[in-house]
């Protein structure tokens, strides 16, 4: 069990002496230093801060999904539904209820998370591709709802006419309405809190039972781990995190569209996890960064960017199944 945790939690070397061990705190310092310094180094490379915001949002969504996909070994191909519900929840709150960013985040997260929690109850007994198929089909339900409920959701054009509001308690006021680095740091702060929670979860006894289920479900059952309940919890929690990312996405764009609910986006989340390394904690963030940058670059080059993205999927699956961070583990093992 302990070696298993070392595998997953730290992107450090095995204690077999073949590679210099990098302490986990050093890895964390590097990751956070890179993230905090984004507004300073990204423009130098020709990027824009909104792109970094997208990486954070998709990264958080993918890391939330990865709790289920990588750490529990259960395949959801419908997480865009909870992402999109989060986005719509936040957008609808800002538009119809109150001009309050924290309330929008709360409502969106609850909407997406609770939808996942309820649906999870129906499918915890399914496994493998069957589970995946149910999640896809259920996800599309929300797509059609948003698509056809024109008056309320804006239909195909998406939900517009809402603005993220400045946050403040009395004299302390943070104006995040502009798109600059203030908003990036706001996103980063929420991202940090969410990722810290995820990290605690993964290392908690609960997280250990999830990995036990992934490695050998039958044995986990013999150890009196309530497999169905743990999978349901894992599914629900991952939906909450993905929904939180969805609310941030709505705030980032001041816009929520039906495509945030579409199963294509679910596929993108899965490929982010796989590309970065789904057995690693930070892999999905790396995958999201690669994916967002590639998508941004290719779609500026050609109209047929879809086939390039599709080809990347195929290539990742065939030649790169362990992902960027997973590769390191492979090299160490051999």
């Amino acid at each position: 069990m302990t070696t298993d945790i070392a595998d997953n939690m730290q992107v450090t070397a095995k204690p077999d002496g073949r590679q210099i061990a990098v302490p986990r705190w050093a890895v964390l310092v590097v990751i956070w230093a890179i993230l905090i310094a984004v507004p300073y180094w990204l423009p130098l490379l020709g990027g824009y801060t909104a792109l970094a915001g997208r990486v954070l949002v998709f990264g958080l969504a993918a890391m939330g999904l990865n709790l289920l996909l990588g750490f529990t070994g259960v395949l959801s191909f419908g997480h865009a539904a909870y992402f999109g519900l989060g986005a719509y929840g936040a957008g609808l709150t800002l538009r119809y209820l109150a001009h309050s960013t924290p309330l929008a985040i709360l409502n969106g997260t609850l909407l997406g998370g609770l939808a996942g929690t309820l649906f999870g109850l129906l499918i915890v007994r399914r496994r493998g591709v069957y589970f995946a198929m149910c999640t896809i089909a259920f996800g599309q339900l929300w797509y059609y709802l948003a698509y056809s409920w024109n008056d309320f959701t804006g239909g195909f054009d998406g939900l517009r006419d809402f603005q993220r509001a400045p946050i403040g308690f009395g004299p302390l006021r943070l104006d995040i309405t502009a798109g600059g680095s203030e908003f990036y740091y706001f996103l980063l702060a929420i991202f940090a809190i969410a990722v810290a929670l995820l990290g605690l979860l993964v290392r908690s006894p609960f997280g250990h039972t999830l990995r036990a289920i992934r490695e050998n479900e039958r044995r986990a059952r013999f150890l009196a781990i309530p497999v169905e309940r743990q999978i349901w919890l894992s599914f629900s929690i991952s939906c909450f995190f993905t929904a939180l990312a969805g609310t941030l996405y709505a705030l980032l764009n001041n816009f929520a569209d039906p495509l945030t609910l579409h199963y294509s986006l679910s596929g993108y989340f899965v490929v982010m996890c796989v590309m970065g390394g789904m057995r690693t904690f930070w892999g999905p963030l790396v995958g999201a960064a690669v994916f967002v940058v590639l998508q941004d670059y290719i779609s500026s080059m050609t109209v047929n960017w879809m086939s390039f993205i599709g080809a990347i999927f195929v290539l990742v699956v065939l030649f790169f199944p362990r992902g960027l961070l997973g590769m390191r583990r492979l090299r160490v093992k051999r």
Partner: protein, 289 residues
Amino acid sequence: MTELILFNVTNGLIIGAFYVLMALGLSLILNLSNVINFAHGNFLALGGYLAFTLQPALGYWGALLVSPLITALIGLIVERLMIRRVYDRDPVYSLLLTFGFAFVLQDVARYVWGPNGLPLGLPDFLSQPISSNLFFITWYRVFMVAVVVVAVVGLFGFLRYSPVGVRIRAGTLDLETVASLGVNISALRTFNFAVGCMLAGLSGVLAAGQIGLNPNMGDDLLMPSFIAIIVGGVGSLMGTLFGGLLIGLAAALTTVVYPAASEAVIYAIMMLVLLVRPRGLMGEEGMMS
């Protein structure tokens, strides 16, 4: 009112027939290879477009026969080159593979045949209405249902009586045992995948005559086909058949009462089935659970 209901019932049967043809192909592949073929809708479009290209040379009937076979051949090549490699891996890989490949196929269709809709010409007599009373039912609609019936009966007969069909059914139940009995399961899966693609290609040719061709023509059929499989029960082709007809009819009849909910009703049926009978209407207990 009677006419409206009759119109929607026939409509429902036709839509249901398409769901069935599509879902049967998906189901075949899913049962034997444990792969969800996201590209199935794109094989459908490919079948339709191939018919469009072949029609000037072979005529409508020739295209109807040859185009599904070419689709099957393409499916066979795809399976041999790519999908075969992920059978032994986590299901996430096969999903991502077919998902990504669907994008590629869609862009190929757009690149080769253009992004705009194209019509598929029909023989004259098929476009005539059956009678002046039932002006809305053309012979083509009857023809589509007839072809689907023939294809479905053919498929079930093939699976029931031919040695290969029996092996496919046996492999669905227990692939390891079938392999240990000396059946070449690699070839069996390839063949099975090709048959699934052939069904998609056939539905593509049929659909093209009704709604015309466009690169995303299969997309709207993919989700209902998933739902048909879930409702009917994974592992049961008969279940898929009934599931497809059921949701097709349910959607059409909802259109009579409340058109906006016609899409939602098939999702409602799925939820109900998952709630009351999680293995699906005709699914085997313990299959993939």
